[in-house]
Symmetry: C2
Subunit: 456 residues, 2 copies
């Protein structure tokens, strides 16, 4: 239940064979070099066929992240005569956001297409201008699994003459690649291939200018020695996974449906996020109120379950997930379950068995079930200054019933995450989020007052 | 006898084990992620120890080329307050030259330290200025095997306050890394590790600013998913190769010495290039006059020998090697033999057995052994316009004895390679190269006249 998976057995077999047959430099003219070149060409044809591209449109990179970086920077450079405007959705992978930051730092302009509460991007939210050099959209969201409207966005981009980079990292191998892309990126370890292989496809006729020093390998797009054995393994795995996809998807889809339906029945105060219908077959994310995601992750790990929490690429930082923030859902207490290809119903059932007890155990010391000790009143100020989320929300939840229905609570907080979490909590708990006020109005010297009206 | 080698048995074993134990994302907090992180940390410690660095100075890249590109661009960006002047030797790997070209195109300044006829760089040839942001030098040349004066150059750079990037791709694992580097680059497949792993080490305190979009992995220097199994295999191979190095080097050094001594005895009109003493143990390069390097390579391949020709990274182009050109030696008819770790005396002897016949077979149709048909005269004009090298040199050699000793031959040629080849041929054959004259002086409408005085 992780962000990657062990090597697919077919990939392992292909890797071992290619270490013997394809170890040589494919740029060399002698026999072993020509043999490596033939294996590389065959792998390129396989990957092209499965992804719906021509072999000469495919370049192999060292990772999905490198594919995204080179794809974006190369397309922006190749289309700089149009202008320096880049547009991407608010829920793209961090590799897209970081590349956009570099573009901005180098004098470019960036705008963002918003996503709704289900994580779905609106194609009309893409600002497509005369000077737009590139648009970027994922096939599916990496944190909540929501499928994105690639075809509609591609049609709008085509009408505006804007090239569209489609980040297929989450779906390649599992689902067919939607048509309409100008550039396509993917990552082999996501489809059971080895680490160290990404794919960048650039449609014939799409302007591209490498941002890196010159190198003739991989269509002049990816400098450096070509890792033929890993690429051969990646191609073998992609073909195998694609062939098994229909069966595997149906099975995983049902298992995820089981988690989506059961978790809210088994665990109180939980929100399953992401689109319930238009979604990846294998991925499900939910947020448990009043729970620290990393603590829950650690408890689940002890119980034998490898899950992720929060933003999928910032596990060593405490930054809240930009995806959940853009969706306007709770950014904490978040658990992402990514079922491996071989996941069984028994494993899922065991997960559903242990989860409620673990969550209850984490919540127990918070005293959430204690009745309110103070008499009900019309207004209340909660001082959560200096407290990090989720503490401000926990305080709010504990004291909601301290005010009468129709009464107002002002939560004073200086942790920026409160700006997302408090409205999200209100939305989920059907309370009314009134808005922000200066904390100074409540006598505080810093922070913000978040105003909540108790409805029920 | 190639630019790379099959995976070292130890690397293969480590790779298989790490595919089972280290497949997970080392950035993850769950058990398999922590296990991958431990393997990655251990590999980093091994590589650091063998290369003489601290573990936190080491970042793993996707190739040696990527290490060079990131090392150079990151150091140039980090030291941009000093200035934008870059200096490297004329015989660096093409990845260094291409990165320098990008730096130049982006408004930087580049100067080149020359190499002598043996391919050795003079430390005093490095122009070190107040605004010099980076100097680059290889430990050993990749085409001719000459060892470079890294320590002396490092001392000069240190005195001038200029950081020095040392490209150790050719020697890492085989020879100890010379001290004094600020940045160090290497490539695992050169030491029997897998493709897809390079190393960039940046000394603590050296200014470095990543040229790529932000990414927290590998010290913020190399974006993208980390290929733990390949890195584990690379580290295992490096340790094994380093442990065997003393024995292997002595054996390979003697085999190369045998080739260096015997080839000129067995094949007429051949020049063994590179430093005969201060050299890599396993690499030897020679040039056969009047022979097309690719033709000889093909013949040797048929006989079961995998060798390279000309520039090591431009096999699909016909550009003459910039290394041989900088050394002022013949750029054509070039054969590079890189002995694998397991090379045997019997293989070398078989190579020496077949080589003379193959060279003679290629030369036979040229009629070089025919006596001159014209009577000797004082001056001769050879019209080689429109003929590609090595034809102008072949014509010169055929007709040298058409003039009396002390007489002059003017070779009219429009292939740029003649500018290197004719002086090189003169130097080798102890004839006097007089210089260039406008071809118009000899009634031609294009090209250059290369004047040669027959000495003997």
């Amino acid at each position: 239940m992780a962000s990657t998976a062990p090597l697919h057995p077919v990939a392992r077999q292909a890797l071992l064979a290619a270490l013997d047959e394809g170890w040589a430099d494919p740029a060399r003219l002698y026999r072993s070099g020509r043999q490596a070149r033939m294996l590389l060409d065959a792998a390129r044809e396989t990957v092209a066929e499965v992804l719906g591209a021509r072999p000469d449109e495919i370049s192999f990179t060292g990772s999905g992240t490198q594919a995204v970086q080179l794809g974006m920077l190369g397309a922006l450079k190749g289309n700089r005569r149009r202008g320096a405007h880049l547009v991407h959705s608010a829920v793209e992978h961090s590799s897209v956001l970081h590349t956009a930051e570099l573009h901005l730092a180098q004098g470019g302009e960036v705008s963002t297409a918003p996503a709704d509460r289900l994580g779905r991007v609106d194609p009309a939210g893409y600002e497509l201008r005369q000077d737009t050099a590139l648009a970027v959209l994922q096939t599916a969201n990496h944190e909540v699994g929501t499928l994105q409207p690639v075809e509609e966005t591609a049609a709008r981009c085509a009408a505006a003459g804007v090239p569209l980079l489609v980040d297929a990292a989450q779906s390649a191998g599992r689902l067919p690649v939607p048509p309409g892309w100008s550039l396509l990126t993917a990552s082999a370890h996501k489809w059971g291939g080895p680490a160290g292989v990404g794919v960048l496809a650039v449609r014939k006729g799409v302007r591209y200018s490498s941002p890196l020093p010159a190198d003739e390998r991989e269509n002049g797009r990816v400098p450096g020695y070509v890792d033929v054995p890993a690429i051969v393994a990646a191609a073998a795995s992609l073909r195998a996974v694609r062939a098994e996809a229909e069966t595997a998807n149906a099975r995983l889809h049902a298992l995820v449906e089981r988690i989506r339906a059961r978790v809210p029945q088994l665990v109180p105060e939980v929100e399953v996020v992401g689109d319930p219908a238009r979604r990846l077959p294998h991925l499900v994310t939910f947020s448990c109120l009043y729970v620290d995601g990393e603590v829950l992750l650690t408890e689940l790990d002890r119980a034998g379950f490898a899950v992720s929490s929060g933003s999928s690429c910032t596990s060593s930082t405490l930054t809240p997930s930009h995806v959940l923030a853009a969706m306007g859902v709770l950014t904490e207490g978040n658990v992402r379950v990514s079922l491996p290809y071989g996941a069984s119903e028994a494993e899922v059932d065991r997960f559903l068995d242990v989860l409620p007890g673990l969550v209850a155990g984490i919540r127990a010391p918070l005293g959430l079930d204690l009745p309110p000790v103070a008499p009900m009143r019309q207004t209340l100020v909660i001082d959560a200054l200096g407290k990090l989320c989720p503490l401000p929300v926990i305080e709010l939840a504990k004291h909601l019933t301290d005010v009468t229905p129709g009464g107002t609570i002002a939560v004073l907080a200086d942790d920026e995450a409160a700006r997302h979490d408090i409205p999200a909590w209100c939305s989920m708990r059907s309370q009314e989020y009134v808005g922000e006020a200066p904390a100074a109005d409540y006598g505080a010297d810093r922070g913000t007052a978040y105003l909540v009206k108790r409805i029920s």
